[in-house]
């Protein structure tokens, strides 16, 4: 019997063993093994090894390496994972792995040294609400806000070290922020103003300032990029769904409609912003406009376009000195990252602005016979349509190579009509401008072993610009002999540019130096044509073709422990071709810089560079070109081969201490150009002739000092900046040389409250600026004193109040002007409701039309302009949150 039981039990055991044998393959674990070494091939123990879900970044399994650097992880399921290996002081290693077999051996993994300056890796400053981790400074925004903030702009303005300037640009410790990120992804490219005014304060979780931001496109991880980025993290409840708001505001003769729509998810970022108003408010500023239309990468040879400023839409340059203005804006932004290897960024904007200006002008001209003036009154109507679309695709097939394509299109259509009345004439001046730019480039970068790499890019830019000028008058003008007493000018001008650049860059390291050899070859074809129906002296046809071959060497090495020296020396061969003229020239362009990093937040940098500017087709006209009813341009002595060499010397100092809550930034720069493109002018009562001419030199000096200090014993931050700049340039009046000097000084001092126990916050201060200009005939100066106070107060949990009050006194040599401005705003939130009501009063001390005086210095005259300005208004705004 016992024997039987024994048999049974052995049978059981056998069965068990049998099943176990089966069980092994069925429930088998999948293993990942490997070993970790440092750069000197020594195994590292206790290294953190994690396997994360590739979709949601959750840790599935983790382990640590043993003393021989080996690790083993067990997983239940096969599939796609992310392997992350990290160790204190070494750079983390991340790799996508796919488990298909029971055993995946990832082999030897070498962790490289982390280049972050570790001395300041983490400085915690709990009370200050800021945490610095490596190159990232994180703001716990709730520490600085009082609940009255409506947009990202209001939030940024209250954070220490951050500010938004009058152009809508984000500044960090006085310096411009290069990139704006949403949830760590680059978004709202070139649209900082649009972003800061549309992302609402309630959406923001926290804000980070990143000092050496590594772009997705950057594959050289050892170098500090020097790019500063501001990252806005969005709260979870605003992610992965459509959010946004619609608002409508109405007042007497004024309206404003505004809609925003966002969707921020892991793979896709989307925003659609639309605005329509007649309050005079603009959705874009001049800087954004120039970035949209001129997205050139840095070039070896600089170009100066002798811009007459009327290429820019007037709504960007004139500010609020318009009688009426209405604008319509739509902007779409899309960022799509289908995989970790690919990023697609697209945006498209459309902006149309109609505006009316009314002004009376007095122009003071200097001539050998003395100073005389020309008075006119103008009624200007301008309709501008602007569109810009850009596509940017980047693909990283692996960690060491990148393929990217960037293309953009921008178009401007502008109709400007001016009714002018002066002592002798009654004129209609009409300008129709169309301007198209297409720019695209393909780029390939790859890294080889031993820090060598290759970068190849091809770019093409096509510009087509045409302008139709139509002037009609009741009397002769421009000293022309008109036929049959029809006083009419119809001038067509056309500019075509086609540039192709091919660039190759090979980087390599020798000992402790990083070097690069670069080669660039470019062809630039420009043609500029003008015709006039009646007069042949306004006919021009300039065709130029420049070929540039550049070869250069870049070197960077550590001179001393904390001092880095870098240089770029390049040689270019230029071949000019215009009509039958052929000429070649060799140019040498060195750039040197010396930077001492006391630590990552404290450095001094000295740099020197030499560059050359070339003459453009527009400047080489053989005959005359009409600009307006009393201005004619021509070329005196500029040649195709006129080269303007310039030298620039600069010193930058940066100090930021989170603990002492102090930042200091100082910049000095000196620029000297010789053989410059200047002009010779001669004016009489009816015509102002401006001729492009070569002048001996131009100097510019700029200096700036900025400091911000938050006191620990007072609830205030102090921001102060002083800047001084001066320039001198040689001009000619009737061929006599004149030195034109300008000097400008500005200072800014403000206190930002950091009150902890009240819901009142304010910023008060004063801005003072003084501009001087002087030549042999004129001397003038403008002094602007502008004290201001901005208050925000949370009256109750659902009522907040904001107000801006400023006083501006403008004093010029002959006139002075005082402007008071008060703009209060009351906002009501309804708890648990999706509605919000605000009462907006803008500039209510100037409700009736009022006039502003401006004084502007042009090439050879000074214009005093009295213009009708935008008036204040009241609006009742209803906002509905989605």
């Amino acid at each position: 019997m016992t024997h039987f039981y024994q048999d049974i039990s052995t049978l059981k055991k056998q069965f068990l063993c049998f099943f176990l044998l089966f069980a092994v393959p069925i429930f088998s674990q999948n293993s990942v093994t490997g070993s970790v070494l440092d750069s000197s091939n020594t195994p590292i123990s206790q290294v953190n090894v994690q396997i994360k879900d590739s979709k949601n970044d959750k840790i599935i399994a983790f382990s640590f390496s043993d003393t021989s650097g080996n690790f083993r992880l067990e997983l239940d399921k096969k599939g796609l994972y992310i392997l992350k290996i990290s160790y204190l002081g070494l750079k983390s290693f991340t790799k996508e792995i796919e488990i298909t077999n029971n055993l995946l051996d990832v082999g030897k993994i070498i962790l490289e040294e982390n280049k972050i300056d570790l001395e300041n890796v983490i400085i915690k400053n709990e009370a200050a609400g800021m945490t610095e981790i490596g190159d990232t400074l994180r703001y716990r925004i709730e520490k600085f806000l009082n609940g009255t903030e409506e947009t990202l702009k209001d939030v940024i303005k209250k954070l220490p070290g951050l500010d938004i300037d009058s152009q809508g640009k984000i500044k960090a410790n006085g310096k411009e922020v290069d990139k704006l990120l949403i949830n760590g992804e680059e978004f709202f490219i070139n649209q900082q103003k649009i972003a800061t005014e549309n992302i609402t304060a309630e959406m923001i979780k926290n804000i980070e300032l990143i000092k050496n931001y590594t772009e997705f496109k950057n594959i050289k991880k050892n170098d500090k990029s020097g790019i500063t980025a501001l990252n806005v993290n969005i709260k979870e409840q605003f992610k992965n769904k459509l959010t946004g708001n619609v608002s409508a505001a109405a007042g007497e003769n004024r309206y404003k409609l505004h809609a925003t729509l966002f969707n921020f998810s892991k793979k896709t970022l989307f925003s659609l912003i639309s605005d329509s108003n007649n309050t005079g408010e603009l959705s874009m500023n001049i800087e954004e406009y120039t970035k949209f239309t001129n997205q050139n990468e840095a070039r070896t040879i600089g170009e100066t376009t002798f811009s007459k400023n009327d290429d820019l839409p007037r709504f960007l340059t004139i500010g609020n000195n318009v009688k009426e203005r209405s604008s319509y804006f739509t902007g779409l932004n899309l960022k799509y990252s289908p995989t970790k290897k690919t990023q697609v960024n697209f945006y498209s904007i459309f902006n149309s602005v109609d505006q009316v200006e009314q002004q009376s002008n007095t122009q003071f001209y200097a001539s050998n016979s003395g100073v005389f003036s020309n008075k006119d009154s103008r009624f200007i109507n301008e309709e501008t349509m602007f569109t810009n679309s850009a596509l940017d695709v980047a693909y990283k097939p692996n960690e060491k190579s990148l393929i990217s394509y960037k293309g953009y299109f921008s178009g401007v259509n502008k109709i400007n009509t001016v009714e002018i009345a002066n002592n002798t004439n009654q004129l209609d001046n009409e300008n129709k401008l169309t301007d198209y730019t297409i720019n695209h480039q393909l780029n390939y970068t790859t890294l080889y072993k031993n820090n060598t790499g290759l970068n190849i890019s091809v770019k093409q830019q096509i510009i087509k610009k045409s302008n139709r000028l139509n002037i009609e008058s009741d009397a002769p003008f421009l000293n022309l002999n008109f036929n049959n007493s029809t006083y009419k000018i119809l001038q067509n001008s056309q500019l075509n540019k086609n540039n192709i650049d091919l660039n190759a860059n090979y980087t390599f390291s020798i000992k402790k130096t990083t070097n690069a050899i670069f080669m660039e070859s470019s062809i630039r074809k420009d043609d500029y044509k003008t015709t006039e129906e009646q007069f042949t002296q306004f006919e021009n046809n300039v065709n130029i073709e420049n070929k540039v071959q550049t070869i250069g060497l870049q070197t960077k090495f550590k001179l001393f422990e904390k001092t880095t020296f870098s240089s770029a020396l390049s040689y270019s061969r230029l071949q000019f071709k215009m009509d039958n003229l052929n000429k070649a020239e060799w140019l040498f362009m060195p750039t040197l810089s010396l930077k001492t990093d006391f630590n990552s937040n404290h450095y001094i940098k000295l740099s020197f560079s030499q560059n050359n500017n070339l003459t453009q087709a527009e400047n080489l006209v053989p005959n005359n070109v009409i600009s307006d009813y009393r201005t004619i341009f021509s070329n005196e002595n500029l040649r195709l081969s006129t080269i303007t060499p310039n030298n620039q010397l600069a010193a930058d100092y940066f100090y930021f201490n989170n603990k002492r809550k102090l930042s200091i930034i100082s910049n000095l720069s000196y620029y000297k150009a010789t053989n410059i493109i200047s002009n010779n002018s001669s004016a009489d009562a009816t015509v102002n002739y401006i001729q492009y001419a070569v002048a001996p030199f131009e100097n510019r000096f700029q200096s700036m000092l900025y400091s911000e200090k938050t006191f620990s014993f007072l609830p205030f931050s102090l921001r102060a900046s002083v800047s001084y700049s001066s320039s001198s340039k040689i001009l000619f009046y009737d061929r006599l040389s004149q030195t034109f000097k300008t000097e400008s000084t500005s200072a800014y001092l403000s206190f930002v409250s950091r009150l902890k126990k009240t819901s009142l916050q304010f910023e008060t201060g004063v801005a003072v600026s003084r501009d001087n200009y002087q030549d042999n005939f004129f001397s003038n100066s403008i002094l602007i004193v502008n004290p201001f106070i901005e208050t925000s107060y949370k009256i109750a949990s659902n009522i907040s109040f904001n107000s801006t009050f400023s006083y501006k006194k403008i004093t010029a040599a002959t006139s002075s002007n005082e402007i008071y401005m008060l703009s209060p705003r009351l906002r009501l939130n309804f708890p648990k409701s999706k509605f919000e009501i605000s009462m907006i009063a803008h500039d209510i001390l100037n409700i009736n039309n009022y006039e502003q005086i401006t004084l502007t210095r042009f090439d050879n005259f000074t214009e005093e302009r009295i213009s009708q300005s935008l008036t204040g208004y009241y609006l009742l705004n209803i906002k509905f949150k989605l």
Binding site: L88, G89, E113
Partner: protein, 229 residues
């Protein structure tokens, strides 16, 4: 040859130096309530204890820095009209050191209580952590939650750990370790909370010597046996 060897070693040493790092921090242990019948803590017993903490080259040491001593207070309580003399004793060690050597899997606890030294040496305990999808910010660090049961040293406690993936050190307070990131906070049952604060990183390595005191090294079981004698 010797010189070559020496140079080689020196080179090795310097290479190791290149990525060395030290983490220094302050750990605060806040007792929440007592164990047993009277769970309300007297003010004295609820006083938080402060430790210094240093981690470098796979070793860490945690030292008590707040001045602690045991105390006996006499309290009179009134019952049925009579006054009774009662005493309240707070036993606290005047010195506590926790030492971990991850490479050798070694763990040491040294303490001095009532002027008596103790030196316990054990194998570094490992935990079966359960990662939980929950996160919160502690002292500026985004921390994730993990739980386990602490059965080391004859205890049976439910442990909640908050670790940060931002710091690649698999260490934590006392004998707790083994999470994919540094443990910023440990909650032991609902009795006490240990939190790291004021983390400072340094580029250089800090030499951490294995600590010893006047008592002989004992294993935990020997220490228990000694206690029962």
């Amino acid at each position: 040859m010797k010189i070559k060897c020496f140079l080689f070693l020196l080179m090795l040493a310097s290479i190791n130096q290149s990525y060395s790092q030290t983490l220094k921090s302050i750990l605060t242990e806040t007792p929440l309530k007592g164990i047993g019948d009277e769970t309300e803590l007297s003010k004295k017993a609820a006083k938080p204890m402060t430790f210094s903490y240093v981690y470098s080259a796979n070793k860490s040491i945690q030292n008590l820095i707040s001045i602690e001593k045991s105390s006996i207070d006499t309290i009179y309580i009134e019952k049925y009209g009579n006054k009774y003399e009662t005493t309240s004793t707070v036993n606290r060690s005047s010195s506590i050191t926790y030492f971990k050597n991850f490479d050798l899997k070694k763990y040491k606890v040294l303490f001095t209580r009532n002027e008596k030294d103790t030196n316990v040496k054990e194998i570094l305990p490992s935990f079966n952590w359960k990662l939980i999808d929950e996160s919160k910010t502690i002292n500026g660090y985004t921390c994730k939650k993990a739980t386990t049961r602490n059965t080391a040293f004859n205890s049976n406690q439910s442990i909640v750990a908050w670790y940060t993936e931002d710091i690649f050190i698999n260490d934590g307070p006392m004998h707790y370790n083994g999470l994919p990131g540094f443990i910023i906070q440990i909650e032991i049952d609902d009795n006490s909370i240990l939190t790291f604060d004021k983390l400072v990183f340094n580029k250089e390595n800090t030499a951490i010597e294995e600590p010893n005191n006047s008592a002989p090294e004992l294993s935990f079981s020997d220490y228990l046996r000694q206690g029962t004698k």
